[in-house]
Amino acid sequence: MDLWTVVRALFIILVVVAAFAPVITWVERKQSAVMQDRIGANRADIGGITVLGLLHPLADVLKLITKEDFVPAGANRFLHALAPIIAAIPAIIGFAVIPYGATYQFPGHEPFTLVGADLDWGLLYIFAIGSLATYGSVLAGWASNSNWGMLGSLRASAQMISYEVTMGLSVVGVFMVYQTLELTDMAVAQDSTFHLFGFLETFGLVKTLPGWLSFAQLPFWGVFVQPLAFVMFLTCIMAENKRPPFDAPEGESEIVAGYFMEYSGMRFGLFYMSEFIEIVVIAGLLTALFFGGWSIPYLSKDELIAGMTPVMGVGLATALTMVAHVATFLLKVVIMIWLQMQIRWTLPRFRYDQIMDLCWKIILPLSLVNIFVTGAVILLVKGAP
């Protein structure tokens, strides 16, 4: 393991886990306050300085660490202690395959890619890790020897298993369009544009696209070529995260807090934090799959480097492009986080049977239709392989 690997891993841990996730707890409070016409968190202070309530995450952690770590009577102590760790680890390591920059080549150096681990089955890694996350919530409820916890666990296992199936199927169309499972390749493929009316030319309706129509270009992003897949994937992955409106396993208004009801102190904090870390991972995944990853719309990486090179030389141009790409990626991640917050505070909760109906009766057939239509269109446009 060289120094560079450590740097990339540190970037993910520092940015995703240490910087984004705690701030999101503050964003969540402020967002809920905006929706409910309140002011929101603004009390925690150090010597009278509150910084808009940004000290609340710090106060939360201090409180959680100093609280009593309670284990209920009759609980399985080993699994009770293990469950929060099993819940948190998949959330933290999920970001490893999400690219936060392109492949850059500085003169005189080896080319490198800004991603934790460049696997050729990148997206499957996320699905595999996500499927292991189920154990955290399932074991938590069972190990704490509590009826509410047990109900939460059963709901969590059923809901997460169901949505894993549809989540996988809903993005098959995206694999088909970009012809890869590798998230780095997908981002590269999305770093281009396509003609909105290009299908007229493909199907021979016009010989060459008239000039006024060829100006209508869109970035070749997943959200534009697979809009249905985007909506379905967003729904499925929010259901996997178990936050409202899909919070049946927690169900504060019916089963108290569900599977983590018997947890206190930092063990509860781990469940809480893993949900917030998952929000960041989901935002990164949505960005990489549907919003072009690090790519800047209408300005591809090669154009950017080539445009800046005459002014400042290849090295500086590449470095500036890299900074611009990472900044673009982080901006998109922030927007995706905001989108999830907005959905969470806008929609009322689903009933448990509605969650299951949505999964098996609506999203599953729709995703199969999406796969079929995508395959048919690809066959029409590109011809048989």
């Binding site: 399985n76 699994l79 696997l119 050729d120 089955w121 499957l124 890694y125 699905f127 595999a128 996500g130 499927s131 292991l132 189920t134 154990y135 399932v138 074991l139 069972w142 190990a143 047990m150 666990s153 059963l154 296992s157 059923a158 997460m160 298993i161 894993e164 199936v165 499972l181």
Partner: protein, 167 residues
Amino acid sequence: MSFAAGLFYVMAALAVVTALGMVLNLRNTVAGAMCLVVTMISLAVIYVVLDAHFVAVLQIMVYAGAILVLFLFVVMLLNLRSDAFTPSRATAPKVVGAAVGVAVLAAFLAKLPDALPKVAEIPADFGSYRQVGLALYRDYVVPFEVASFLLLAAVVGAVVLAKRRLS
């Protein structure tokens, strides 16, 4: 011994130990199921060591992530505790079971020396999802379709059993 070989032995030992843990653990069914999860994950690591990356991911997604969660779901739903599993006193099933196990193991061991293909060098894209996909949907498409029909029959059967009164 290379790192991969060392990892293989560690994971193989872990797989055997946790498999025994599942079989011999009669007190706590959930712990037994969790032992099986660790077995599946260590098998997946062994697949990674053997360059079968796609199979390793499928191993985790399908076995560790889906089937065993359903096992846990059923075990927890029935709430099976220690008294639900008193070991059977009859000796005949045990003897037959042991005999079948030994016979299968012997047949496997007898086949083993010839069964391993002598591969001089592993192709670059060995075990990638492309290779597995091409093999599955091009070379072995008929067995694949037959297997999917079998699964369809199982699904229909499960629905019929679960919904006795089809109105």
